[in-house]
């Protein structure tokens, strides 16, 4: 059977040209987000942390989280090995030869958060003070936030039959306090992690870096990384050793949202495509009908 290849190829070419054309002119149409004016954050300094885990304990208490006794051999202790469904804040140890460092992990409060971009009906939101909150009433447990977060922060209650997402929300239950400090920052005996406004903390980090240039890696992690985070880090070991593997300055949602917005801007393209498809189908059916009455195909 002869197949009319030409018209098909022509159609395919037009379709792909349309697809490419609609995707290309929108490059960089999305504006970079900036740190909110009232942003609060944390500054963690590896040179000050002694790994006492007072912050881990305080976090559990402040957020009413159960002890994690599942670590083999540590059944009598609350000994989480990573952030998990019982743990919103953790101290980890990096050791290589005689080089060692602790690192605290919790939500980074991204300036342009991937979780917020991912969440279907906005269970994740970047709220006042730039704090990223999670609303259980708007979550169905799809876990796209986990797929999106470059820092592996949101955790899922795998052992629950009515599972929620567990994630540091900067102790937002204390937002009314005059001196709003997350529990981890409040208890740290060495002030290895401190809370404050983003501006204060960035200035402080810069001051330390300038004052003791040979003590630190020459970088404030979070100042620009992945579009910036409101939690800032100073370290005496290379940041990738602490698990901060990405040094791109491009916010995670930028590429996807640029494409998404380009294609769906004002829903014009889909509406136009729909109208076009309708017309084509209508024309084709009319022609078919005419042929059928003529010669009973």
């Amino acid at each position: 059977m002869a197949f009319d290849r030409r018209s098909l190829l022509k159609g395919m070419a037009t379709a792909s040209a349309a697809a490419v054309a609609s995707a290309s002119p929108v490059k960089a149409a999305r504006e970079r987000k900036v740190v909110p004016e009232d942003a609060r954050g944390m500054l963690y300094d590896t040179t000050l942390c002694i790994g006492c885990k007072a912050c881990v304990r305080a976090c559990k208490e402040a957020n009413d989280l159960p002890a994690d006794t599942r670590t083999p051999g540590m059944e009598n202790y609350d000994a989480p090995t990573d952030l998990n469904e019982y743990t919103k804040n953790i101290i980890k140890l990096y050791k290589e030869g005689d080089r060692r460092s602790y690192v605290k992990r919790q939500c980074m409060q991204c300036v342009d958060p991937a979780c917020v971009g991912a969440c279907m009906i906005g269970a994740f939101r970047k709220e006042k003070y730039g704090v990223i909150t999670w609303d259980k009433e708007r979550c169905i447990g799809c876990r796209y936030c986990q797929m999106a977060c470059p820092f592996n922060v949101p955790k899922f209650e795998w052992s629950s039959l009515n599972p929620y997402i567990v994630k540091c929300e900067y102790c937002r239950q204390r937002a009314g306090d005059k001196q709003w400090e997350p529990a981890c920052c409040e208890v740290c005996p060495r002030e290895a992690v401190i809370a404050g406004t983003y501006e204060e903390l960035l200035a402080e980090a810069k001051r330390r870096l300038a004052e003791y240039p040979d003590r630190y890696e020459p970088k404030i992690y979070g100042e620009k990384d992945l579009g910036g985070t409101q939690v800032l880090y100073l370290s005496h070991v290379p940041f990738e050793k602490l698990g901060f593997k990405f040094d791109s300055e491009e916010p995670v949602p930028e590429m996807q949202q640029t494409i998404q917005h380009g294609v769906y801007q004002g829903f014009i393209a889909p509406a136009a495509l729909y109208a076009m498809l309708g017309v084509v189908v209508w024309r084709n059916r009319r022609k078919d009908g005419a042929e059928e009455t003529e010669g009973e195909a």
Binding site: D82, I140, C142, R143, R285
Partner: protein, 398 residues
Amino acid sequence: MSDRAEELGGPVLSKVSKWILWLGIVGAVLIVWRFGVGLGRSTGLNDGYPWGLWIAFDVVTGTALGCGGFAMALLVYIFNKGKYHPLVRPAILTSALGYSMAGLAIAIDVGRPWFIWRIPLGGFPDMGKYNWNSALLEVALCVMAYVIVLWIELSPAFFEKWKDSPKQGLANFSKKAYGIINKLLIWIIALGVLLPTMHQSSLGSLMLLSGPRLHGLWNTPLLPLLFLISCIAMGYAVVVMESALSSRFFGRPSHVSMLAAIGNVAAYLIWGFLVIRLVELVMRGRLGLMFQFNAQALMFWIEIICFVVPAVMLMNAQKRQDLGYLFRAAIMLVFAGTLYRFDTYLVAFMPGENFSYFPTVPEMFVTIGIVAIEIMLYVALVTVFPILAGKPTTAEAH
């Protein structure tokens, strides 16, 4: 040419093998069990790999395999190849089942499916707050709408049957509904092309949000385009497979020359897919990633070979007139498209060395069970309703 659709008739159960029935039952039991023990105990999923087999196969691949209806609608209604019409109705059925089962899989996979209805409402009681930045929201809404569109597209098959029903009410309703659907058909068909174009490409954009943790051989802004092209090719391959199987098992006409032609279209799509993919890798200077010694590079090569083989096979104008040959090529194409989706969602996704994922046995049997249920429903519906093209006259039997 008797190309009118006819029901197979006869009892349904005798046409389904006992094995398929049992696999369906096992799957159904395990689905209930999953809700009894939670996702942590029933699956291999974890905080590093929150999406596993059910999303990568049942949802992402399952809907791509359900693109037969979309692909045939493109061919018949948009490119105006009316002669392929006999292949449309069975393709729509496969799509309707594929998408419905994908919906079922989503309900099993999410943590709190009893709140899924809040998604189309944009939350509840605080309604209408959609996050239009979310590719997943777009997929969710489009898939929900498309399942409905597919069943409407298929509904003339039901009404044709029911309009001769001895029950007067049902017969009258069917006649009326048939007329309404016929009037709206243009816009339903157009919707049946628009919606999969949107959500199948969005299934690619979804993974762009994993960007920093997605391997460079798969992470490209062209993911939506690549997902769209490959799902259409997979749709054609599924139509070929399904026609071959129903001619083998139900003695229906195989339409082999038509299948050869759409196989050829699929081959062109695959070549387009491969060229776009490789050119993009060259342009972004990522060709070197192919020659590294790691699992991702290996999977990339396997994937490319799995695409090239059926594409080459389907270019052979003589050999593809043979149903068995076509069937083998189609199966490989489907496998290649499946692999591409597994690779993008699981192999290329790298949350860190301290995480690993492999599906548990119950997880696999849920997936197998869902496929079994799909096959049973297919057989049941083609037995009772006029979906497959009628029996061949002796002259056109192949």
